[in-house]
């Protein structure tokens, strides 16, 4: 009987306090992202591109350069990339926690953080590809950030392939955590190696102060929206997976 009570305590729990924040965060994400989208096109000033052969009158202003519409990609590209880093950092944190405690809960956390990371990494790749095509005029270049992101994406995909190839849950969790930790150490090295060896053509936006106030504002709004979106997706997926595990555990208990 005592054993049974102990087992009942071990049911995978879900629905902690962050779940109650989810609806608010969801609304917040929608509001901020829509506002960010509108701001990117209406509020942030256009950026000058190549010089025109002769000045043109647009509205009541003389324009001497091409106004780059493609630069708007940047307002979504950077926040998405930063959120993907955040998700990966969480995945790394939870995999260390798993190896420390061997609690299945942390493995679920790692897996879901990785899923969110994969989503945002792919979004970064798509927006980044659009950027290289329209801003730099080429589809692909082995630039440090592109290379690193490609490697990062492949490692995250490899993480899921590895998980699918193992049946035993404990082994799957351990191997997954080990790979997640190695990958997170590998990616910064990859960035450094590709950055130091050839010259880079990526603008270092934040450090050199290449953004004006209105651009910074727009990025900040989209950033908040994306963080909220990432959080909402994470919590909802976590809740779903944990409830599935809980149902499985209860079923097993009833069978005993």
């Amino acid at each position: 009987m005592a054993e049974k009570a102990k087992k009942a305590l071990k049911l995978p729990e879900s629905g902690q306090w962050p779940d109650s924040v989810v609806p608010i965060a969801l609304v917040g994400a929608a509001v901020f992202l829509v506002a960010g989208f509108l701001m990117a096109f209406l509020y942030a000033s256009p950026v000058n591109g190549a010089a025109l052969s002769e000045p043109v009158l647009v509205g009541d202003q003389m324009v001497t350069n091409v106004q780059l519409l493609s630069q708007k990609i940047f307002y979504f590209h950077m926040p998405v990339a930063l959120v993907s880093f955040g998700a990966l950092a969480f995945a790394g944190f939870y995999s260390v926690r798993f190896l420390m405690t061997k609690e299945q809960r942390f493995d679920t956390c790692t897996k879901i953080a990785m899923e969110i990371a994969l989503l945002f990494v792919v979004l970064t790749m798509i927006t980044g590809e659009m950027w290289t095509r329209f801003e730099w005029g080429l589809w692909w270049t082995w630039d440090p950030r592109l290379t690193t992101y490609l490697i990062l994406m492949i490692i995250v995909i490899a993480y899921f392939i590895l998980r699918n190839a193992i049946d035993d849950p404990e082994r799957r969790a351990t191997y997954g955590s080990v790979i997640a930790i190695i990958a997170l150490v590998d990616v910064p090295i990859c960035y450094m190696v590709t950055r130091v060896i050839p010259s880079s053509i990526h603008p270092v936006v934040l450090r050199e102060g290449g953004m004006t106030g209105d651009m910074g504002m727009t990025v900040a709004v989209v950033m908040i929206g994306m963080i909220m979106l990432g959080f909402v997706l994470y919590r909802m997926r976590f809740r779903q997976v944990r409830l599935t595990q809980r149902v499985e555990a209860i079923k097993e208990q009833l069978e005993d």
């Binding site: 190896l99 290379t147 490697i151 492949i154 490692i155 490899a158 392939i161 590895l162 190839a165 193992i166 049946d167 035993d168 404990e170 082994r171 351990t174 191997y175 955590s177 080990v178 790979i179 930790i181 190695i182 990958a183 150490v185 590998d186 090295i189 990859c190 450094m192 190696v193 590709t194 130091v196 060896i197």
Partner: protein, 238 residues
């Protein structure tokens, strides 16, 4: 009458495990022959792949990359094999029953993989030179490619041993090792190709690129081997 058994030192354990691997290889010659033949076959493929261009373009600039592509694919084959025998013949269970520090197992296995890879490289690099570089004049610093080769192979053996221990227990392990190994080895590969090419091509600025790339490769080695060493306990104990 009491019998006292002295506990073997860590170094003795390491030496025993290493000698076991070497002896097994010496008797079967399984890994060295398969890796050597595979490397030779890749060289033949290169011969066909470069046949139409050899007269026109500068092979020296590409040779660093070609050499490292050869090493990566050959080491994939070897690493896949390195735990198969242990698993099939139940040797791994035996080792795990012995009360020894798990990281010793890692170090011994990594060392034996490193030695096999180096032997294969000693055979294939003269062959590579023979097939592709005799018609050209590499720079005087050509012999310096030994340094990136050793540094790179240490990293390949270190991380490869950890990954092959992981993939030995998965479905479709051959593909799985490649899927994990190639992206994780990428920074090392990039730095080593840069250092090797710098040594082969030479020129005024070669020393700068060479030392920079080597420093990065060595940094990768130190970090990754230490990390693999720490994490190995988790991997092999499950």
């Amino acid at each position: 009458m009491s019998v006292t058994v002295k506990r073997p030192s860590t170094f003795t354990q390491y030496k025993t495990l290493l000698v076991k691997d070497l002896r097994q290889e010496f008797r079967t010659k399984e890994m060295l022959t398969s890796m050597g033949i595979y490397a030779l076959l890749v060289l033949i493929v290169y011969g066909a792949a470069l046949a139409q261009t050899a007269q026109v373009f500068d092979i020296l600039q590409m040779s660093g990359g070609l050499l490292w592509a050869l090493i990566v694919f050959t080491s994939l084959l070897g690493l896949n094999r390195s735990f198969t025998a242990e698993k099939e013949q139940g040797c791994l269970e035996g080792i795990l029953l012995v009360p020894l520090d798990r990281s010793v197992v890692f170090l011994a296995k990594a060392t034996s993989n490193l030695l096999f890879l180096l032997v294969v490289e000693i055979i294939t690099i003269p062959l590579f030179y023979f097939f592709f570089l005799t018609s050209t004049t590499p720079s005087d610093s050509f012999w310096l490619i030994v340094v990136p080769l050793v540094v790179g192979t240490i990293g390949v053996a270190g991380i490869g041993t950890l990954l092959s221990t992981i993939t030995i227990n998965t479905r479709g392990k051959d593909v799985m090792l490649a899927v994990l190994f190639i992206p994780l080895i990428f920074p090392l590969l990039y730095a080593c190709v840069s250092a090797t090419t710098a040594a082969i091509v030479g020129g005024d600025l070669f020393m700068e690129t060479f030392t920079m790339s080597l420093a990065l490769a060595a940094g990768y080695d130190v970090i990754m081997v230490l990390l693999s060493w720490v994490l190995y306990d988790f991997v092999i104990s499950v």
